[in-house]
């Protein structure tokens, strides 16, 4: 029997809505009526002041969220350490430190750049710090593609498990709106419709080989990823058939598939929410689906979830939820 890939835990931190905060030079009326929602970073700020640690905002949240993810999955740090666990992040903008170091150099000259700051100025810094902290030795990468970044990361993780390159993979989707990314997000959204929001978030999924999860005592009916593939906007009928075949695995051809697709950029939700999560969107949609009582109420068991980018590329995943009550 084919060994499936399951989602054994999901976590998310999503910024709550609110007025546009004061960042950069143009914080108010110039940007119209849209909102940019920031995560609460006060815990990180306290940590930074107390320990002057090696963490950045993103790496700090990521490491803490892995702890939550493991707790939810019933795993320990010792169980996930080693070469059979992979880690991958996906983000449209990546880490703001990569850009901020340029500003720092302009302001302070070469003496303003030290080894620690430079090491932090790489998009893979958060996943690498986390891999070191948790002893993860499998594949570890940072995707910085478009609004599909989180789903691209999930595609890689799925590849690795099905190719037997690892047994588990932690998939992270995030957006970090620290300066100068925050200013850019605001600038891009000037043409957005009233009520539109762009939201900072971090979301995490734990993908596992089903046999490995069952062997450690996890439930045997956790949500299963039945397939995942790439596509493009405006795809023709033949492409739609290929995508369906790819993401439904061994499903009956007549089985009803419910669709939750990010219609515009990283927008998330079933159409009622006008919030853009950029690269975290598609993965966040999965996390929400799996944590939502709606899954059971709707009695729709097989879901197609995807993300489409402004440039026209897309990633689609099929997820089968076998429990009638909410999945995770």
């Amino acid at each position: 029997m084919k060994d499936s890939v399951i989602v054994s835990a999901a976590c998310a931190d999503v910024a709550s809505g609110g007025p546009l905060p004061a960042i950069g030079h143009n914080a108010d009326a110039a940007f119209g009526s849209f909102n940019v929602n920031f995560l609460d970073h006060s815990e990180f700020e306290a940590h930074r002041k107390a320990e002057r640690g090696r963490h950045t905002k993103v790496s700090y949240r990521l490491c803490n969220m892995v702890e939550r993810l493991l707790k939810e999955a019933g795993l320990t740090k010792e169980e996930i350490s080693g070469p059979r666990t992979a880690l991958i992040s996906g983000s449209s903008y990546g880490c703001s430190q990569v850009f901020d170091i340029h500003r720092r150099l302009s302001k302070h000259g070469p003496r303003g750049i030290d080894a620690v700051r430079f090491a932090q100025a790489t998009h893979n810094y958060p996943v690498s710090v986390c891999a070191i902290e948790y002893g993860l030795m499998g594949p570890c990468l940072a995707v910085v593609s478009t609004e599909t970044a989180g789903m691209d990361a999930m595609l890689c993780a799925y590849d690795w498990i099905t190719e037997n390159r690892c047994d588990r993979a932690i998939v992270v989707g995030f957006e970090d709106f620290s300066s100068p990314v925050g200013e850019h997000v605001c600038a891009r959204a000037t043409d957005a419709p009233p009520g539109y929001s762009v939201t900072e978030s971090m979301v995490m999924l734990l993908l596992e080989r089903q046999s490995v999860a069952v062997a450690r005592g996890a439930a045997s009916d956790l949500p299963e990823i039945t397939g995942i593939t790439t596509t493009y906007s405006g795809a023709d009928a033949a492409e739609a058939v290929r995508v369906r075949a790819k993401i439904t695995g061994e499903a009956d051809v007549n089985e009803e598939i419910s669709t939750l697709t990010s219609q515009r950029l990283g927008q998330c939700g079933a159409g009622t929410e006008d919030t853009d999560y950029l690269g975290a969107g598609g993965v966040l949609e999965i996390a929400r689906l799996l944590n939502s009582p709606d899954v059971g109420q709707r009695r729709r068991q097989h879901w197609q979830i995807g993300a489409l980018s402004q440039s026209g590329s897309g990633v689609m995943a099929g997820i089968k939820v076998t429990q009638l009550e909410f999945a995770l």
């Binding site: 070469p83 340029h102 893979n124 710090v129 891999a131 030795m137 594949p139 100068p180 790819k246």
Partner: protein, 412 residues
Amino acid sequence: MTRSVIVTGMGVVTRDVIGIPEFSQLLADGSAAPGRPSQFDSGRFRAKNAFATDPEVAQTALRKALLRMSKDMGLGDMTEADMNCAGYGMLAALEAVEQAGLTSQILKSAGCSIATTSGGLMDGYTDALNEGDHSAQFQELVSPGSAAVVLRRILGLQGPLCSFSCACASSIGAVSYAFMRVQNGDAPVMLVGGNDRIREADFAGFNALRAMDRNSCRPFDVDRSGMIIGDGAAILVIEDEEHARARGARPLARMASVALSTDSHHITCPQPGGLVRAMEQALEFANMKPEAVGYVNCHGTGTQINDEAEAVALEAVFGGSQKRPIISSTKGITGHLLGSAGAIEAIATILALRAGEAPKMTSTINPEDIAFTLPVEGEDRTIRTTVAMSNSLGFGGLNGSLLFELPATGEF
């Protein structure tokens, strides 16, 4: 169904050369000494030299290539911003596409996977912000994945699109994604590689780390004292073998496997164990024994810790072989292209395999006493098998290993 993946096209842009024939010659002859980059004042840093590509030279060559190919290929228009963001990558891509003989129809089904260090035009945007300029011209092509988006738009690609930024292992990440897309049937053709422009912040950072040599990069030299930053682009066309066979394409090499691992040890200090696992997994997935490998293109930055860790890892994997591979690093010739390093070194590896000879390490004068042949002056550089490996390491303890194999004579 798992598909066999082959390389059918390659393109390169570096400080010294634009184009594969010139790159082959550069690998045989060695390069001129690194010099001051024109993009910023390097005089204020401890180490001042780089292998920095002249943007004007590359842009002139790109305009010529676009003029020559646009009509037949139905290419989109390239703006000034597109060129600043992805000019090197586009120039390399056009060469690779031409060599592979891809038509505009095939390009529609193709995807791209691009590696970068920082990517995009965010530095320009940040400068503008500092000067109080919030104008729209700085708002596009800012995110790190922008180069891939430009390639997609100009070349009319409709297949998978992805960008990776994992320090100096970025290219291996991009290759692993592209390899999987072809192998799993998501796309018959992928353009994969790296696109990087030299950046003052990276120059400053490696200076701060004291990882840069003041004069030259001397990998595996007793007197080595660091790397020299380079920039440019390298793009490969990889393709489903059946697809290539059906259209009569010429295979340059078979991409036998890709493997990734993490040290889980230190952000900037590599540990051999991680690279050992990557190399072993690459061999395992290709169903090959270490003896099959005739040449290893090492990451070989010329820093003390990198080359030392790599030598230990190579000994662990190939130490028991009857015939050890020749090992070398091409960073003494091209400089360290950071995010694009793995891509240009993959091309150097394929060229070496096809020539049957390892690139000469012209900058390594006093080779370290290791149990592998280094192709320095006076050494036999003959590659004895049809298989070669290319390794990349990156900040954070990231490792990647690629295996290439020459197609058998008459196979196509």
